[in-house]
């Protein structure tokens, strides 16, 4: 009888049922779309951060920036060439310096690894190689003996000068025994191989594919840095955006090149639990003075551009809008159900007169509302899935700008590219990310829960009214 009665009533009031279901459907569809878009945003941001940090890295530890002491000037690269008399030879020089001129003792890696909540910590050294290649040309004395007044009869010196090419690229000293964490995880080896654990001091290098292409280098080729020849063993391609470095070397080799033995610029840290990241950050800052800790959340805060705007919109306006619509749908569903009960007072009064208990009448009303809610939920899920599918199919491109401007951006950028300091002030890195709207089972579960909740809210309104009806009042009102 319960289901027969319910089915017939829903059929009789299908217009009202459709209004209630449509309202709920709209709200639920919005929640699904906004949730899935937010999820897509998070995934996009995750990709962006992954391209900076590497897979699995929760934070980086770098040396805190120390302002130059009084009387000191900012450190900068300095080249010294011999311009000996009579020489006109080609001159070439590689200047290898620690990225940002700031480094930590390698023992910091163990100190960080010893902190509570740290699952793994790996150190690396970011270096910059500046190659200056060219020659000095001596000036020529023209028209000897026709010097100007007071000239000593030597003639004028014309021509001469210097012509140098300056090339700069980044290299990263990798802990070859611990390659599961750190910048190299942002790239995939597309040719050759990566380092083996035994190559701690080997003269081997892995090159970024884009950089290698520009230098016409391939696996088996040779890269010369400061007179040391490195065999190219692999070519790596960044998963997205720019690679973390142009050249990857074994850590010990990078340290030797930069004259930074037992030094690292960045410690890449993985926490035991994502919930503990902030706690680990605090612990590192407290226990290891003079360090800067940049978490993925800090880095995420530096992401700007349309990705950031869309993400803010999705998490702000979108969420509020969807819950506002859902709340309004709940309210309308409740009021419509309540109003339907008002129109059915004689019916419910009669049933009570026949001996139906209030609970049974309430269940009947709540059952109808619940089915309405479930129909709305099903419609909403279908609508939401269609919306999410459409967004994924269209894949609008969002642009993420990273580390552009500001101290935070500079610190984050320093942390992300090499972990060194002083990266600030660089032009922002731009990444194009295709937006997707993945719908998870949890989102579907949320939608079903909302549908049931909507039905129960509506049923609650109506059931409450129905349960309060006294049969005599109900019958008297219509006689």
């Amino acid at each position: 009888m319960f289901f027969t009665y319910l089915r017939r009533e829903l059929r009789r009031r299908r217009k009202a049922a459709l209004v209630v279901a449509s309202g709920l459907a709209l709200g639920i569809a919005l929640v699904i779309v906004v949730t899935s878009v937010s999820s897509g945003m998070s995934r996009a941001q995750g990709k962006v951060l992954e391209s900076l940090y590497g897979l699995g890295t929760d934070m980086t530890v770098t040396k805190a920036v120390e302002p130059p002491e009084e009387g000191q000037t900012t450190r900068r690269p300095r080249f010294e060439f011999d311009a000996g008399e009579g020489e006109e030879a080609q001159q070439s020089r590689d200047l290898v310096m620690v990225q940002g001129f700031q480094s930590l003792d390698a023992s910091t890696v163990d100190d960080v690894a010893g902190q509570d909540g740290v699952a793994d910590a790996v150190g690396g050294l970011g270096i910059r190689v500046m190659k200056v290649d060219g020659e000095f040309r001596r000036g020529q004395v023209e028209n000897p003996g026709q010097g100007g007044p007071g000239g000593g009869g030597g003639g004028a010196v014309r021509g001469g000068g210097a012509a140098f090419d300056v090339d700069s690229y980044t290299a990263y000293g990798t802990d070859v025994a611990r390659q599961d964490l750190g910048p190299l995880t942002t790239s995939k080896i597309t040719s050759g191989r990566t380092f083996t654990e035994g190559e701690t001091d080997a003269a081997v290098a892995v090159l970024d594919s884009a950089w290698a292409a520009g230098k016409d280098l391939a696996v088996g080729g040779t890269l010369t840095v400061s007179g040391t020849e490195f065999e190219v063993i692999g070519i790596a391609t960044a998963d997205s955006g720019d690679a973390a470095a142009d050249v990857y070397l074994p850590l010990a080799r990078a340290q030797a090149l930069a004259g930074a033995e037992a030094k690292v610029t960045t410690v890449y840290v993985k926490a035991t639990d994502s919930q503990r990241i902030e706690g680990v950050k605090e612990a590192v800052l407290k226990n290891i003075p003079g360090t800067t800790v940049t978490t993925s959340a800090d880095l995420a805060a530096t992401v700007s551009g349309s990705l950031s705007t869309a993400s803010d919109l999705a998490s702000g306006v979108g969420t509020w809008l969807s819950y506002l619509v859902l709340g309004a749908a709940f309210l309308v569903a409740g009021l419509l159900t309540s109003s339907a009960v008002s129109r059915r007072v004689r019916e419910f009064g009669t049933l009570k007169a026949l001996g139906w208990r209030s609970g049974r009448v309430t269940r009947q009303v709540a059952g109808e509302a619940l089915v309405n809610g479930l129909v709305g939920g099903a419609l909403g899920i279908a609508l939401g899935l269609a919306g999410a599918w459409l967004i994924t199919a269209l894949s609008p491109t969002l642009t993420a700008e990273l580390g552009g401007g500001g101290a935070a951006g500079g610190a984050a950028r320093g942390g992300m590219r090499f972990g060194g300091q002083g990266g600030g002030g660089g032009s922002p890195q731009t990444l194009d990310i295709a937006l997707t709207a993945p719908v998870s089972l949890a989102t579907i579960g949320l939608a079903v829960a909302l549908a049931v909740a909507g039905g129960l809210v509506a049923g609650g309104f109506g059931g409450w009214r129905a349960s309060r009806l006294r049969p005599a009042d109900a019958l008297r009102r219509v006689e």
Binding site: M1, Y5, R8, L354, G355, W356, R357, R360, R470, R476
Partner: protein
Amino acid sequence: MYQLTGVTKRYRRGKDAVTALDSVDLTIEDGGRLVIQGPTGGGKSTLLQMLGGLDRPTEGSVVLDGTDLAALPEARLTRVRAEKIGFVFQGFNLIPTLTAQENVETALVPLRLGARERRERAGEALASVGLGDRSGHVPGELSGGQQQRVAVARALVKRPAVLLADEPTGNLDESMRDEVMEVLEALWQEHAFTFVMVTHDSALARRAPRVATIGDGRVTVREQVA
């Protein structure tokens, strides 16, 4: 047997108190038939609702077979209605979406009978009012007289001790009125339930052995020869 003692019912209508029933004393024997008459707003329906346990008196007691309905908690009162009292209303009060068969079955739902027994008894009840062949029709497909006969079947399907009818023919034309009354009287004679009917129709009142006239909340009963 009904025993009403000092039954008073007062309503509040705005700031005013309206006395619908004023110290009513009334006895109705088991299997008896009583017609209640009186002017509109005189308290007829209120008295019927007291008898049916649909409302409670402000003062006094309504005792049915030794149980004071006025003092029963709501759940037990609901059970008394479900088991002992059948109602027929002026407006039929059928559920428009349910068939005649299903409407009759609604009276058996509180008795927790199995679906098959419900179906069988509802079918028998419809046959007893001459509508065995219309069981699959919804109220909108039936005439007024047929609808009221479905309502009678619904009231009697649970084999109640009491049938309370509030203007059962008030919405029917003369031929349908007679049709319904013939059914009611035949069933009363067959099942010997206590039959209390409110009506404005003097022709119908004359057919009852006892008539209670209610005015200004007070009841006077007269016996008459059928």
